[in-house]
């Protein structure tokens, strides 16, 4: 029996599965394609419906995973090949070159301080900047710098400044082979590309942003240190509108499913906006409010009654930008009154839905069935909610379908438990 498991994807689900397996004494290989584990949850400011600080939950778990004696992290790595030999999976993992020696880098950050190249930071949803040598965010695990070769100009300033002599610009991809007895897939989701809804002008109008970008604006460790400003001119927006169901429940995007988290994340972000800018006027345009989880309905009522967030039942049909003020005019119908109107706002937040990560090459590696919605399918959604048609392969988190944090963590722990059945003697 191989007493080791593979977890693919290092977001909240993958970290939870890895910790649960490792705590039982099994070796865990945790593979993450980005330079740091943490996934989407690391980008969030607060969590609904309790408004707990996301980083306060996430970062200790990340550190636990990073320092656990039974967990081996493969960050900035991808699973390239999986071969099944009866009860053993032979897994080939490719470590992409960071051009920084992981054994030497101390994470001091001198290199980034001296690096002359600034590019948009993906972690801040392109709102902030990072250097060509970077860690995605200060709490990154592992705290090891990575050179983004696409932006690097090979000036070698980092090499000269690094006291640990960690810069290795000749680094090559490295293949590592491991053997495991079970696999947990937790590759998560991507945000729906709101450019596809051309009527909302996302990507054209600067003040139309996504909910995930607003998380970064709200976050004290974000690009504006938690100050709410709109992208076009840095002014504090006093009228903000949220548009629900962007790329969810929409035949035209091909996504018929409800993304499950948007009603609550919009409500949460609306409350946080009110806390940051008390004079702000926030309207949420929705088709239906789906406040189905524990404490969700109360949260929604609190948003309306305590914080004065306006909810208007009507799907916004079009956004037009005033080219001079860069304010936005929303065309919508209040379907409860039948009134058609143009609302002028300073900033629009699109509650973009969750979609499966299509560029995920794992879909070719593991023949797990994929449902009509593009997400992986379990053997039985009721009685076997983490097992797949492939023996010893389990799924957890948003890779199975849109899911909030509590549900992801539950499924991740369940997957770890099921996987451990195949690892014990």
């Amino acid at each position: 029996m191989v007493k080791a498991g593979l977890v693919i994807g290092g977001g909240i689900s993958g970290i939870q599965s890895a910790l649960d397996l490792a705590d039982q004494g099994y070796t865990v290989y945790l593979v993450e394609k980005n330079p740091s584990i943490g996934g989407k949850m690391a980008q969030l400011d607060k969590t609904f419906p309790t408004l707990d600080c996301a980083a306060c939950i996430m970062t200790p778990k990340m550190v636990d995973a990073g320092r656990h004696p039974n967990i081996r992290l493969f960050t900035y790595s991808e699973t390239q090949n999986i071969e099944k030999d009866i009860e053993i999976f032979k897994v080939k993992i490719v470590r992409k070159p960071r051009y920084v020696d992981e054994t030497k880098c101390t994470g001091c950050g001198l290199c980034a301080l001296h690096c002359p190249i600034e590019v948009r930071n993906e972690f801040d949803e392109d709102l902030g900047v990072r250097k060509a040598i970077y860690v995605p965010f200060p709490q990154a695990v592992p705290l090891i710098y990575t050179i983004d070769k696409d932006s690097c100009i090979d000036c070698a300033l980092c090499e000269r400044i690094c006291q640990a002599k960690a810069i290795d610009r000749a680094q090559q991809p490295k293949e590592v082979e491991v053997e495991v007895g079970a696999i947990i897939v937790s590759t998560g989701f991507e945000l729906f590309d709101a450019r596809k809804k051309e009527e909302y002008g996302y990507g054209v109008y600067q003040n139309v942003i996504t909910g995930l970008a607003l998380e970064r604006l709200l976050s004290a460790s974000g690009p504006t240190a938690g100050h709410i400003v709109r992208p076009s001119d840095g002014r504090i927006p006093l009228r903000v509108a949220f548009l629900q169901c962007v790329g969810s429940r929409d035949e035209k995007s091909g996504n018929l499913y409800c993304s499950r988290v948007c009603c609550m994340y919009a409500t949460k972000e609306a409350i946080l906006l009110k806390e940051h800018v008390p004079d702000i006027d926030v309207t949420i345009y929705y088709m239906d409010i789906r406040a189905y989880g524990k404490g969700f309905e109360e949260f929604y009522q609190r948003a309306k009654q305590e914080f004065g967030i306006k909810y208007i039942r009507g799907r916004v049909a079009e956004i037009i930008e005033d080219p001079y003020t860069q304010n936005l005019f929303l065309k919508a119908e209040n379907t409860e009154t039948g009134e058609l109107f143009d609302q002028e706002v300073d900033m629009v937040v699109l509650s973009a839905g969750l979609v499966p990560p299509w560029n995920d090459n794992l879909r070719n590696l593991l023949p797990i069935p994929i449902g009509d919605d593009g997400f992986f399918v379990t053997s039985n959604p009721k009685s076997e909610p983490v097992t797949t048609k492939m023996e010893r392969v389990f799924i957890a988190g948003a890779t199975e379908g849109p899911k909030d944090i509590p549900d992801s963590v539950i499924q991740a722990s369940a997957a770890a438990m099921k996987a451990s059945n195949f690892l014990k003697d």
Binding site: E198, E251, K252, G314, R315, A317, E318, E333
Partner: protein, 393 residues
Amino acid sequence: MIGAQRSIMGPNELDLSFTEAVVKAGGDKVNLCIQCGTCSACCPSGTRTALRTRQIIRRAQLGFQEKVLLDKGLWLCTTCSTCTNRCPRDVDPMGILISLRSLLVEEGQVPTTLRDALGGVYKYGNPWGIMRSKRSEWANGLNVKYAGGGEKVELLYFVGCAPSYDSRVQHVARALVANLNALGVDFSILGNEESCCGNEIYSIGEKGLFDILAEENLSLLDRHGVNRIVTTSPHCFNAFKNRYGRKNFDVRHYTQYLADLIDEEKLSFSGEVKKVVTFQDPCYLGKHNNVYDEPRKIIENIPGVKFVELPTSRGRSVCCEGGGGRMWVDNPGERATESRVRDAVNMGAEMIAVACPFCLLTYDDAIKTTGNEGVIQVMDINELITEAGLVHN
């Protein structure tokens, strides 16, 4: 429960058999509507007129026959397809409105001006009600072949009603003939045999008359052995492509035909048009058929032209309010074309290029009503090509 509702609504109002009639008339997805309001809010007509698509659909769901059928808004839909393209439930609100119109047409309850247009089509094959013998007068003195002269029809130029009869749009037909001749294209027209394509007739809801027109036109085409068609109007193009239920035609709008020739480097220009030009997307070319690039390709290839896009274009373009029978149903007040003309003028455009007879007429009006004559002009792409001096390579 139903009984209780009946007593509140009154016995004559709630009638679910009416909902079934709507479904049978073609509004088959009416019951799927979740009332999100997208259709009302994106409607270029409804934001200016009494048309409230979502309310009409809700009432149709509940079977409020009288309220639905007496709603004057029904006749204000331009069938631009914006609601149908954006509906998150794929309910096809435009199709439902057309089906509701068809129920009214069956009862003979049609606005007088529309009734005259339909009568004209029935009697003379065109909605202007002008004699059939005058249909091909526009081509007098031009070098055109008529189908039926014994030769095989290589390419049929289907002219359409507005280009045949309207004195302004006749220029466009003549320009297209000149352009095709300059390119050495072997083409024919149907002459006085040509009848209305029926696209607007279908949109008005007169599906019976549409079927007659489709049958007549198809048998005429079959008789002349036509399998390649080029049209002046996106409306005719749409009728042949999507509404006749026949797939064995190669039907193209003239912008597609000419853009292909540019790609094949068979078409170039000798002169230039030193103007700032913008373009109004015709709904039946763009939103209905996803043809956005071809007209732009032609305009941008004309030497001297500086092309600018209107603030909203392509899939976000705003209808000229000429389609869906609206050429014959007036609605007082500000028109969409008027604000588009002002936008174009503010952007420094000197010309609005169009590729549809209805856009040409409505923009001509809007330039006059906004007092912008001499500041900006509207021209069909065919006329623009003629002005630029087309050369066959």
